[in-house]
């Protein structure tokens, strides 16, 4: 018994061995099970969005060419795969930095009618599955642990760019009764005095319109004519 009560025994058995065993069961083994799912960089996500012409890609073009062309040109340049990837990164950075994930989850569970609630029934309402999270923007993963607002991982099909922009600037304007704070620092005034998103705002819009866009079926017929 007295051996068990020494520093070296406790440090080795409890501190190292039990800890490693638990880590093996809790995440090393799950990672091994998931290891064949390819891990995507943001550039690959951008290429995929373009190749499959997902709603995220259509929304990105719409944002850059129709909604805020001057702002987009000023901050990002031409709308292409590179600027799409850049905007995704900027949006993701501020989604994390503003703590959006404190109140919005990014996981649809297979229980509690969540597939009916999040997304649009018949369009984008699948349960969350491992491969959709296997990318650079989910490292660390953004599942979240608390919902004050709704889940966002099927958001692409739910609202359009204009709604999202108004919602970010002043949530009350689109969702009466909400207690979400506004993010006016994502916006600026252009020459005509219109409130338009700045670099961060465009990034946020691109990022939000990307969330779940891979699940929007059939691809939204929103391609620019």
């Amino acid at each position: 018994m007295s051996k068990m009560e020494r520093f070296s025994f406790v440090a080795l058995v409890a501190g190292i061995i039990f800890f490693l065993f638990a880590d093996f069961v809790s995440w090393a083994l799950p990672m091994f099970v998931l290891k064949d799912i390819p891990m995507k960089k943001v550039e690959e996500l951008a290429a995929e969005a373009k190749a499959k012409n997902t709603s995220a890609w259509a929304d990105f073009l719409r944002l850059a060419k129709v909604y805020y062309p001057e702002q987009f040109k000023k901050y990002y340049g031409e709308p292409n795969e590179e600027t799409f990837a850049e905007a995704l990164r900027v949006g993701h950075h501020w989604y994390v930095a503003e703590g959006c994930w404190n109140c919005h989850s990014q996981m649809v569970r297979p229980v509690s009618n969540e597939t009916l609630r999040f997304g649009i029934p018949g369009v984008s309402n699948t349960v969350s599955y491992p491969s959709e999270f296997q990318n650079e923007l989910q490292a660390p993963v953004l599942w979240g642990t608390k919902r004050i607002g709704p889940d966002l991982i099927r958001e692409a099909a739910v609202h359009d760019i204009g709604w999202q922009a108004a919602h970010l600037y002043n949530p009350e304007s689109t969702s009466p009764g909400t207690n979400m704070p506004g993010y006016p620092w994502f916006f600026e005034k252009d020459e005509k005095g219109n409130i338009v998103p700045n670099k961060r705002g465009i990034g946020m819009l691109v990022y939000i319109m990307w969330l779940g866009s891979w699940e929007v079926k059939p691809t939204k017929e929103w391609a620019l004519k």
Binding site: A22, T145, N179
Partner: protein, 464 residues
């Protein structure tokens, strides 16, 4: 007097004072941050549209600050008192201690600046510190390992360590591993579900492998000293420690049940979580049997009362956990305020009250006084904190059920916000109670430290 001299050489009073004082200051700051955030939920946030006081950022200071500013400071201060005293050896180096003290405050300050002003945060819950500060924290924790590992190692050359020594030895090894794992693996060596499994393990391990063992270690030190009698059962102490050491690290994945993490990991987490309730109960039986026959001390010994109140809250939290960790409960309560209530009962109700009790026991001694400045303020703070946190727990648990069933019922989302509003208002009121208690406690501390004359204790009864 000679006795005191010896103890002064053994314990570096300056380090204990500095860490405990900073821990208390950060406790108040993070509580204020939590209160501010609760005002946002009530729809009456006082600083709307100010970028660096955005509620989302404030909330990250609330959680990360509670971990590194409040708990690490408090526990380190208490360890500087307890470890040398029960091992009989000084910590490795006083100079290292002061370096660590300033390094910790700098790390917390940099984190606050980074999150509030620079937009640098990390989406690991309880690890919101920007990723580039995490290696520094790991390095700090390695220093912490050698600083406190030295006396523990020396003492165990001489004979078996006391229970506190097991908990603290294991914690010293676990913590740097946990922080490294939780903050760096999800960012650099995994993504998605794998990262989620690591992050959930981290959330739980920082509680289970840092906060819990260091706090129980200190409880095993302070409770017998205050009661002036040994723990009831050494066997139960062993059972409790090894039960915690084996099962606690496996609990993490229960934070993401029904997630895309493979089910075997979810099942093992549920199993380990239910198993740990038995270990917890064995520890609680040990503490309750220890106080048997001396329970009247709870009437006038406030530090002891903090410790036993916290212990009861601990058991309530763990008992609750054995149920809500099941997949059935998770359908309803996951993502709701139930979890927030649970987290506050354990972090504030148990560990918060424990460190406040331990600090209140130490504080007069550190300044050569026999009692705190004001008995009334001590009592007032205790009751405000205890009632406040329990009311908050009760309120948020109910709110969680309302939200959970409302979401299942597929009502418009805004309904769940509106239905929660009364609960959130009440939560802010309990927040005011807890903050008032903390301020009262802090004023008492300040007055005790600065009181000109030695505060002396009067003998209440013969049994004292």
């Amino acid at each position: 007097m000679a006795n005191n001299q010896e103890l002064t050489n053994l314990v570096n009073y300056g380090l204990v004072k500095a860490h405990v004082a900073m821990g208390l200051i950060f406790f108040i700051i993070v509580a204020l941050m939590g209160f501010l955030y609760s005002l946002q939920l009530d729809g009456i946030y006082p600083f709307p549209g100010i970028e660096f006081l955005s509620p989302g950022r404030v909330r990250m200071i609330h959680t990360a600050g509670a971990a590194y500013g409040f708990l690490v400071n408090m526990f380190t201060g208490l360890l500087y008192w307890a470890v040398p005293r029960f091992t009989g050896y000084r910590v490795l180096s006083n100079a290292l201690g002061w370096f660590m003290f300033w390094a910790l405050q700098a790390a917390v300050l940099i984190t606050v600046v980074a999150i509030l002003f620079l937009g640098q945060a990390d989406n690991v819950e309880w690890g919101e510190t920007p990723w580039w500060i995490d290696p520094i924290i790991v390095f700090w924790l390695l220093l912490h390992l050698i600083q406190f590992g030295a006396p523990l190692f020396k003492a165990s050359q001489r004979g078996p360590l006391y229970v506190s020594g097991w908990y603290i030895s294991a914690m010293l090894v676990w913590t740097p591993l946990v922080v490294f794992m939780g903050n760096l693996i999800p960012r650099f060596w995994s993504a998605g579900s794998g990262a989620g499994a690591v992050q959930s393990t981290f959330i739980h391990d920082l509680v289970g492998l840092y906060v819990t063992p260091v706090a129980w270690g200190l409880m095993y030190y302070f409770v017998p000293i205050i009661l002036k009698k040994p723990m009831w059962s050494h066997g139960l102490s062993l059972l409790g420690f090894w039960g915690l050491a084996f099962f606690y690290p496996m609990n993490g994945v229960h934070h993401f049940l029904w997630s895309p993490i493979p089910m075997f990991a979810q099942y093992s987490a549920v199993f380990a979580t239910v198993a740990i309730e038995f270990a917890v109960t064995s520890v609680l039986i040990n503490f309750m049997m220890t106080i048997r026959g001396s329970a009247e001390q709870l009437k006038y010994n406030i530090p002891l009362r903090y410790m036993y109140t916290g212990a009861i809250f601990y058991w309530i939290t763990c008992f609750q956990c054995a149920f809500h960790v099941t997949l059935t409960f998770q359908k309803v309560i996951h993502f709701t305020d139930w979890v927030t209530g649970h987290a506050h009962l354990i972090m504030f109700g148990t560990f918060g009250l424990w460190v406040l009790g331990m600090a209140e026991y130490l504080w007069p001694k550190l300044f050569g006084k026999e009692t705190m400045y004001s008995k009334g303020m001590s009592e007032g703070a205790y009751w405000l904190l205890t009632i406040g946190v329990f009311a908050m727990f009760f309120d948020l648990t109910a709110a969680g059920l309302v939200q959970g069933f409302d979401w299942i019922g597929l009502n418009p989302w805004i309904d769940s916000v509106n239905f929660s509003k009364p609960f959130w208002y009440f939560r802010s009121i309990t927040g005011i109670m807890m903050l008032t208690g903390l301020f009262m406690y802090a004023i008492n501390f300040y007055k005790t430290a600065t009181a000109a004359k030695g505060l002396t204790a009067e003998l209440k009864s013969e049994s004292a």
